[in-house]
């Protein structure tokens, strides 16, 4: 009885699937889906090697400080960093006085619960980076978690910052010219062409426009590529400030487990020796 029921149920689902697959195949043949401009011209992130990569990776403090400088002088005009507190910046190698000075350079809203008044005051080390008021096109995302919130992570940020291109005459690696293949895909006014952005047209104007846009305190030459790498490194830190501690904790844990597992294996062999004749 149950087998008859089960054969019927099997036939029911099988027929429904064949019906779906048949209709799907038919429409695939009669109206093959056209390749979209995004599918043809969207680029995967470029390769980016950071000191924090890999199982032994560590942050380069100098680079993080340079990246923070790029964020502060350029990105922070539009992008907030709300999950990061000024006190966290000690991780970058700043001392207490420097952290206080950095915090004091930002204005934060102070809410008085008794009067309901909101007053602006200078930032303190305990405060988080304040919200950023932005009035242009698009919505600049908060950058705290950006390298964890995009496929490709820091490499995506780096590629996006260095990936702006002139759309007229743009060709992909296969040599296909975008505007010849998709004449309707012209970047609308007010947007900027960037093949590393999901839909190719981004509202953010190229933020790193020329070399020397910031003057690094440590004397590093501020090329666009250097600034993009540094800020990607900095945003890797903002997304995961505990990255170093995580990797450093991992090794002793794995070492202990390896040791314990070898012991457990020997115990297992010895317990079973008589039954298995090891």
């Amino acid at each position: 009885m149950i087998r008859i029921f089960s054969l019927l149920a099997g036939a029911f689902f099988a027929l429904a699937l064949l019906w779906s697959a048949g209709k799907g195949t038919y429409s695939l043949i009669t109206e093959p889906p056209a390749k979209t401009v995004e599918a043809t011209f969207h680029e995967h992130p470029k390769d980016l090697a950071l000191p924090s990569d890999g199982a032994f990776g560590k942050f380069d403090r100098q680079q993080l400080q340079r990246g923070f400088q790029v964020y502060k002088e350029i990105c922070s005009n539009c992008h907030s960093l709300k999950y990061v507190a000024f006190r966290d910046l000690k991780d970058l190698g700043y001392n207490e006085a420097e952290v206080k000075a950095i915090a004091g350079g930002f204005k934060v809203n102070d809410y008085n619960a008794n009067t309901g008044e909101v007053k602006q005051r200078d930032g303190l080390a305990k405060d988080h980076f304040p919200p950023v008021v932005y009035a242009g096109t698009g919505t600049p995302p908060d950058l705290s978690l950006i390298t964890k919130a995009r496929h490709g992570g820091p490499a995506y940020v780096y590629s996006l910052l260095t990936g702006y291109a002139e759309q007229v005459g743009y060709k992909n690696e296969k040599g296909e010219e975008l505007l010849k293949k998709f004449p309707d895909a012209k970047t609308p006014d007010g947007l900027f062409f960037n093949p590393y952005f999901a839909n190719l047209n981004i509202a953010m104007p190229p933020p790193l426009a020329s070399d020397g846009q910031v003057t690094y305190k440590d004397g590093t030459k501020a090329t666009v590529d250097q600034m993009a790498q540094d800020v990607s490194a900095f945003l890797t830190w903002t997304a995961e400030p505990k990255l170093e501690k995580r990797k450093q904790t991992g090794w002793p844990v794995l070492g202990f487990l390896l040791f314990a597992t070898v012991l457990a294996y020997l115990a297992y062999r010895s317990v079973w020796a008589e039954k298995k004749g090891h």
Partner: protein, 426 residues
Amino acid sequence: MSFPWANEYKPSHPAMRWLDEKLPLPRFVYNAIGAGYPVPRNLNYLWNFGVLAGFCLVIQIVTGVVLAMHYAANTDVAFTSTEHIMRDVNWGWMLRYMHANGASAFFVVVYAHIFRGFYFGSYKAPREMIWLIGVAIFLLMMATAFMGYVLPWGQMSYWGAQVITGLFSAIPIVGDPIHTWLLGGFAPDQAALNRFFSLHFLLPFVILGVVILHIWALHIPGSSNPTGVEVKSESDTVPFHPYYTAKDGFGLGVFLFFYFAVVFFAPNSLGHPDNYIPANPMQTPAHIVPEWYFWPFYAILRAFTQDFLFIPAKLMGVLAMFSSILVWFLLPWLDRSPVRSGTYRPVFKKFYLLLVLDVAVLGYCGGSPAEEPFVIISQIAALYYFLHFFVVLPLVSSFEKPLPLPFSITEAVLGADDAATLAPAE
């Protein structure tokens, strides 16, 4: 119940004797997972996964209870409180990564456990009840994992909740009211998040209770084994302790090594980047995908793209997705072969390998965007999935000729069993 030759608990210390008289808890443990439980001597490493699953449940409960001390189930601050755990709570990042990857580890282990059961016919008489309870545990795990994934209130949390609760609205007539009732609103919001948190805290303890029933039911017929031949004499078994405690200790070490390698060196590799974007009801992600452990079932859900016999495609998909798991409840009665173990079933074994491959393909399609060629592939793979359980399993035993079984477990292990010479020829 136990075999007549099971060791009896004999406390030597007066304090233990005293306790044993008043509350025989040590005796209970001794008979359940100690030297008082005789287990087939030929279990292979696939039999480690039950203990590992239990250990995963403990990891999830311990890390989860501490995370709940720092998490706030409020749509305004859920995401922020998760970041607070990652940044400001002492070792919070480790707890959260252990918990998130612990869910994945739990499913890895449970899938190994389930597929071991498929192959070795662990669902067959007299172990049907163990199997039924096991499927119930799996369903509870799915519900718990789904609700847990909603808690950080990221984009995938929100839209995953939207899609999965939306499945209930496919039910004719009463679907929409049920959907609204489940969510406490028309879309996931404060009410939904709060009740998901409450249930996500409750269900692991329900799972724990049902796991105890699972183990209780196991101890009535005793463990199955790779030959599928029932235990016949004392030489077929060894006491659980120290034999299998030692083997499980080794298995646990191997498991923890891989688990912590992921936790410390690739903790986000199994998650979706979109869940690091706070939930935004106004912006749908490009591709809504659940966590990897739901991918095979998600592929089945999406494989039904056409209305069929006046049944809307969506309802068809929902029916199929639930049936694809509920059919496991019927396995003990669908598979009529008297031989348990796949090792001695040449035809079944081929279909089984095809099923493993098929579920892997379904998983791959479920994680891919809903576009060609993945839709067609998932339709073909889903077709085999249903044929396997509803058609192949009930029919295969009627024409399959099983290989000869060993006389006993002892004979399978040692090549000869003295008891065999005494047994009458069959």
